[in-house]
């Protein structure tokens, strides 16, 4: 990723289908301290695709204004999240054949291999957004640092994320409009993983981030990103299914989903009658709880099934001819669920039944308690990813005066 050293002030913006959240943090000793947070209802995004740029731009500007006002600091650059099917990922490889006479890998060999991987042109009309490091292979064996080792063939791998050029320019332009630079893009699913999965988890874990419009997933294997993908189905589809089935408004459906919904349909649900308002007054309506859980569980489990198929399809593309099995052996830490729709009752149980892997709802690790909810894994994770993905800062001695200056720099 970027080789620039980490700034002391980091602003991240997570643009989702339902809400746009922004977080400003001060980085002290590699840890973020929250200065301000803002969250607003997103306008102009449907199913993870931008439909009204003007409204969305206004929304982004509002959250940036919020965090600037809340902290009294000026934001100069931001990290933007990237989610939905617009960002397409694939594995790219670079090779170097090591000269036979000495057989020791040098730093130049490594950089040559990286160069050759990055020379691969993205498909016509698409721009490369980011590269994520995957295992380096020396003679088909994974190695952490090949420099100094003996071998014949060095292979470096990246997970490359590309985006349609116009789409990327649009997103950058949205932020540039208020004289702020986009420092980097971060894959939303990667961010969600950084907030909820430990380093031990990353030996084998599938993080599924179910947002309002899209479901993004990422698979880690042996500490590296193996592959990632996105399904254009999310929490709004749950609400829509319910509003269609019960012929009720979106708002009522959303409310019933939160109060009575479940990702599992149980036979007993059919015998329960629930009231829309609960006061049994004029306009109150009765519904069969079984209908609600039936509709929601079908959609929820289907979405997870789509994820399962997408994971397998991408693994097949990476390891052609190998029968890859998604089991506890390969993914010992199982599934971590994040995003707003991870809050649906029995979500983990439903995922467990579809995937055949242990599943849990991921709570982001953060100092501020109000953000320790699955729906904030994205924005909290952006901050965490921005810190961990940056190269280690160049240590320079800083006196008291310098720190004081830093503190009062506006």
């Amino acid at each position: 990723m970027t080789s620039k050293p980490l700034p002391s002030l980091i602003a991240v913006i997570d643009v989702g289908t339902h809400k746009t959240a922004s977080l400003l943090g001060q980085i002290i000793d590699g840890k973020a301290r929250m200065l301000s947070f803002s969250e607003r209802r997103t306008d102009g995004v449907v199913k993870g695709t931008v439909t009204d740029l003007e409204k969305l731009t206004q929304c982004v500007h509002e959250v940036v204004n919020d965090i600037e006002r809340g902290s009294g600091r000026a934001v100069e650059q931001v990290y933007l999240s990237l989610s939905g099917p617009a960002a397409e990922g694939e594995r790219v490889k670079g090779f170097v054949a090591v000269p036979a006479h000495d057989g020791k890998i040098t730093a130049k060999d490594v950089s040559d291999a990286i160069q050759s991987a990055k020379r691969l042109e993205p498909p016509e009309g698409r721009a490369t957004i980011l590269y994520m490091r995957q295992p380096t292979m020396l003679d088909n064996r994974p190695v952490t640092n090949p420099v100094g080792m003996a071998g014949k063939r060095l292979e470096v791998n990246f997970w490359r994320v590309t985006m349609e050029e116009g789409n990327m320019r649009m997103r950058v332009g949205m932020v540039n409009g208020m004289s702020i630079k986009v420092r980097d893009f971060i894959l939303a699913s990667h961010a969600a993983a950084c907030a909820t999965a430990s380093d031990a988890d990353k030996q084998g874990v599938l993080v599924i981030d179910i947002g309002a419009g899209t479901t993004d997933w990422i698979l880690y294997y042996k500490e590296h990103i193996l592959c990632a993908g996105s399904i254009p189905v999310g929490g709004e589809h749950l609400t829509n299914d319910l509003s269609v089935a019960l012929r009720i408004s979106r708002e009522t459906a959303e409310d019933l989903k939160l109060r009575f919904g479940s990702a599992m349909h149980r036979e007993n649900d059919v015998n329960q009658t629930i009231w829309k308002d609960g006061d049994k007054g004029v306009g109150d309506q009765q519904f069969n709880r079984g209908t609600i859980t039936q509709v929601l569980s079908l959609r929820y489990q289907e979405t997870i099934e789509f994820v399962r198929k997408d994971v397998l399809r991408r693994l097949e593309a990476i390891f052609p001819g190998h029968a890859v099995k998604l089991d506890q052996n390969m993914i010992p830490s199982g599934v971590i669920l994040t995003g707003g729709s991870a809050n649906l009752a029995d979500a983990a149980e439903a995922v467990q039944s579809v995937m055949g892997l242990t599943a849990r709802v991921g709570i982001p690790k953060f100092e501020n308690e109000s953000l320790r909810k699955p729906e904030y894994a994205g924005v909290v994770g952006l901050m965490a990813a921005a810190i961990t993905d940056a190269p280690p800062p160049v240590r320079r001695p800083r006196g008291f005066l310098a720190q004081l200056k830093e503190l009062f720099r506006l």
């Binding site: 199913k47 439909t51 399904i231 519904f287 079984g290 209908t291 079908l298 959609r299 289907e302």
Partner: protein, 376 residues
């Protein structure tokens, strides 16, 4: 082939012809029938009424192979024959399956000719199963929009809905029987209302005034009741008819056309009770036209068929003159509640998203054909 019958039932394309053939046995004599298809073999067996092969030059009797453009050209080529078929018929009921070539392509053309010949055109169109994939679904969607602009009333029957009506292990023929039951019931109701001998009769002009506004959403429901309180049972069944509950269909309409048919034991009180129940559910504030008919063959059964339309805008379109085209194709005056808004709910109007050949914006329970628990 001008006929003196009040209603001409037209089956178009493979699915449409099959349905008309299945229905022919249970329809009263006042209904004339015609089968239209591009596939010569499908028509070779003859039919309950006349047959007309479309696109003899275009397809050479081989069918369209799913090409809507070919279906459209085939129908246009038979313009004189189609106009002869529709001449003097007050009501044309067009039954077709959308998604394939003949139905998707020719339906709007055939409906257009019939309307131009002065007939009131009511169309029943079936939509493909979700599992039939992207191409057929898109083709069917386009066709509903075009068809809606040409005919006076359009009732869309989703094949997915049919699957929900039967147990998962029931044979496929049983789910199609549900569609036959609904459409057949509606036709029996409408046809017998115009026939002499009805208890409370109506004439074809009534249907015309009800469906006067092309493009207004059409409501349709059908229910049967038997035994004690049969009329109320039938009315309740009609209120619960899945066709009226299909996602996106109109909940209340301004004008209703209700036909009640029953055996000799049916009393007028019963009939009016049934109509009352239907009105409570569907509206019909502006006008409710009631038809009642005694059919000894029904025994203690009572059938209730409901057809309704709203008049969405006060501005009435210029009536198409005989043989003349008045609509400006660039500016459709009305738009039907199409497939888009009907099943996709809040996602209506957004681009379709396909995974494994299914439009995933359509609720999962509809695509998986899961019958939901009954309302309390």
């Amino acid at each position: 082939m001008a006929s003196s019958a009040a209603i001409l039932l037209v089956g178009l394309g493979g699915a449409g012809c099959a349905m008309v053939t299945r229905l022919s046995a249970q329809l009263p004599a006042e209904v004339a029938m015609a089968l239209l298809d591009t596939d010569a073999r499908a028509l070779s067996g003859g039919g309950p009424g006349g047959t007309l092969q479309l696109g003899r030059a275009q397809t050479r009797g081989m069918g369209t192979g799913g090409e809507a453009a070919l279906g459209l050209a085939s129908a246009e080529a038979e313009e004189p024959a189609l106009r002869r078929l529709f001449a003097g018929v007050p009501v044309v009921v067009l039954v077709t399956g959308l998604g394939g070539g003949t139905g998707s392509g020719a339906a709007s053309v055939v409906a257009g000719f019939a309307a131009e010949c002065g007939a009131t055109v009511l169309s029943f169109a079936t939509m493909p199963f979700s599992h039939e994939g992207e191409r057929r679904m898109r083709q069917a969607n386009d066709a509903t929009v075009k068809l809606g602009q040409k005919c006076h009333g359009l009732v869309v029957v989703h094949n997915d809905l049919l699957l929900q009506q039967v147990t998962p292990d029931a044979p496929l023929s049983e789910s199609f029987a549900a569609a036959d039951k609904w459409v057949g019931g509606a036709l029996r109701g409408i046809a017998s209302a115009f026939a002499p001998g009805a208890l409370i009769a109506a004439d074809p002009a009534v249907l015309k005034s009800l469906l006067a506004t092309p493009g207004s959403p059409t409501l349709f429901a059908f229910g049967v009741g038997q035994g004690e309180g049969a009329a109320m049972k039938a009315a309740r069944a009609a209120c619960d008819c899945p066709l009226a509950h299909a996602p996106g269909t109109v909940a209340k309409v301004a004008s209703l056309f209700v036909t009640v048919a029953g055996g000799t034991a049916m009393t007028s009180t019963e009939a009016f009770e049934a109509v009352g129940a239907v009105r409570t559910r569907f509206g019909g504030e502006t006008s409710t036209i009631l038809c009642a008919r005694i059919d000894p063959a029904l025994g203690d059964r009572i059938e209730v068929a409901v057809l309704g339309a709203s008049l969405p805008t006060p501005k009435a379109p210029a009536k198409p003159k005989k043989g003349g085209k008045v609509e400006d194709p660039a500016q459709p005056i009305f738009e039907f509640a199409t497939e888009e808004s009907m099943r996709r709910g809040l996602f209506g109007g957004t681009p379709m998203t396909f995974i494994d050949g299914q439009d995933v914006d359509v609720p999962a329970y509809i695509r998986k054909a899961v019958r939901l628990p009954p309302a309390p």
